[in-house]
């Protein structure tokens, strides 16, 4: 018997939650963060290590719908600052800053006045940055705010980690041999059509044909 393990891996890959499920998780995190802080916007950046860029993966509020996939250099502005130092930060009066990633902010169509940002760290790896822009004025507990933001950051880091793992697994399956890729795709389709038994019946029929064709069938 050959190939049993890689086909099993392919099936496992095919049955991973879809990219959309992970995106929905990240979206939910920025939606809740924005609501809790009464903020104008919240966003999650993923660090693309190949290009050294930060990529918008989820946005709630200002820029929602337009920014997903937009890239900025990883050292740009406050997000870059948080990424390189690994330290959370709260900033008020951003308008005082003549250089703060203004071009990047103008590209996004929104220039914030205040900003909170925290690195997204999973284990030893910094995966990206979570930002909250222009929260409500009540800032009686600055350090408490950071603690709360860190709780969201933990969730977001897990979400980003899952998203990246899924992307890597799919890419690996697609780079495998043709049969592995097909098996992965079929497993994924079956996983998503569990309510309709037609696909499963067809596969069972295919199995009975393959059993007869296989030279060392039991």
């Amino acid at each position: 018997m050959t190939g049993g393990n890689q086909y099993r891996d392919s099936v496992a890959t095919g049955m991973l939650p879809s990219e959309e499920s992970h995106r929905a998780l990240l979206q939910s995190i920025v939606d809740v963060a924005r609501a809790i802080f009464g903020a104008q916007a919240s966003s999650i950046f993923l660090l693309d290590r190949d290009t050294d860029e930060l990529v918008f993966e989820a946005v709630s509020g200002e820029g929602e719908g337009d920014l997903i996939g937009m890239r900025i250099p990883s050292s740009t502005g406050i997000a870059g600052w948080v990424l390189v130092t690994g330290q959370p930060i709260v900033i008020n009066d951003l308008q005082q800053d003549p250089r703060f990633a203004r071009q990047a902010a103008e590209r996004t169509g929104y220039v914030p006045k205040a900003l909170m940002a925290v690195p997204l760290v999973n284990g030893e790896t910094t995966l990206g940055v979570l930002q909250v822009l222009d929260r409500t004025e009540d800032r009686s507990r600055s350090l408490g705010e950071i603690d709360l933001l860190i709780l969201f950051a933990n969730q977001a880091a897990i979400g980003l980690d899952l998203l990246q793992a899924t992307r890597r697994a799919r890419a690996a399956a697609e780079q495998g041999d043709v049969v592995e890729a097909v098996v992965a795709r079929i497993a994924g389709l079956l996983e998503r059509s569990q309510d309709d038994p037609a696909g499963l019946r067809l596969l069972e029929a295919l199995e009975s044909v393959l059993v007869r064709l296989a030279p060392d069938s039991p």
Binding site: V90, Q96, G123
Partner: protein
């Protein structure tokens, strides 16, 4: 005997040879520790993203180097770019606000992309220790465990040669270095807005809490930015360390940490 062994023990006739002059008062106060001090004569290094030397809150920067990859090798070169991120300038301004006459040195290890940051931090710290700066501010950390052992050794080297490392604590539930090492002074934020308030923490690894909330820090183009974060608590302690060292040159990191403890806002030495 071929060579003299290092003095890991103290013979009776050597006791006189190691007498240490002590002018410490019975009750250490802030006035004794740093009253009237300006930081003059003390070399403070900002290991960060570079320092903007033209900013009015920062003033002169004595030396500026960048630690960079050239191919696979790391080199320390003159810093032609300055601060590309803004973080190092912000920290330098805080130090200058407390110790107006200290000599500032910038070692840039951040801001030129995210590849190999841990290696650059290690090389930058090694350079700072070789320069024998009195104080090194590190408002940064690495989460990579593979750097922990080397950082630990460097931190111990610094401690024994008399270079004080001040590092911001990571207020996130991750393991990071070097702030957790006992040979550095680790700093978190308190919620007050007085730069002259600092607290000793009876529950380490964070050893001191200093001002880290709503600070107007130096920012690009001569402007300021109101910031909150542990990144700015550490340079408060670095600035205080510079003051104490300018008034009492030659203190060891152990003695300096003791003075900061004795003069903290919660230990009775404030007045």
């Amino acid at each position: 005997m071929s060579e003299d062994l290092p003095a890991w023990s103290l013979t009776a006739d050597a006791v006189e040879g190691i007498s240490i002059a002590s002018n410490w008062p019975e009750h250490v106060t802030r006035e004794w520790a740093l009253g009237g001090a300006t930081g003059a004569g003390v070399d403070v290094c900002v290991l960060d993203s570079g320092v903007d030397g033209d900013h009015p809150l920062i003033g002169d920067v004595d030396t500026r180097v960048a630690v960079v990859f050239e191919g696979d090798e790391i080199h320390v070169v003159p810093d032609e770019e300055g601060d590309v991120v803004g973080h190092g300038s912000a920290c330098a301004g805080v130090i200058r606000s407390l110790a107006p006459e200290c000599r500032l040195h910038s070692v840039r290890v951040l801001g030129s992309g995210n590849t190999g940051t841990g290696d650059l931090i290690l090389a930058g710290l090694e350079h700072a220790i070789e320069q024998r700066y009195d104080v090194v501010n590190m408002s940064l950390s690495t989460t990579k465990r593979k750097f922990a052992e080397s950082l630990h050794e460097l931190a111990d080297d610094a401690y024994f040669q008399g270079t004080v490392l001040v590092a911001s604590a990571h207020n996130m539930p991750v393991e990071s270095y070097p702030w957790r090492f006992s040979s550095v002074i680790s700093v978190g934020s308190h919620e007050g807005t007085d730069s002259w308030e600092w607290y000793a923490n009876p529950s380490p690894p964070v050893e001191f809490f200093a001002r880290g909330v709503d600070i107007d820090v130096a920012w690009f183009g001569g402007s300021t930015l109101r910031c909150t974060g542990n990144s700015f608590a550490a340079p408060h302690i670095a600035g205080l360390a510079a003051l104490v060292l300018s008034k009492h040159p030659g203190l060891t990191p152990f003695q300096l940490k003791s003075i900061l403890y004795l003069t903290a806002s919660n230990t009775g030495g404030k007045e």
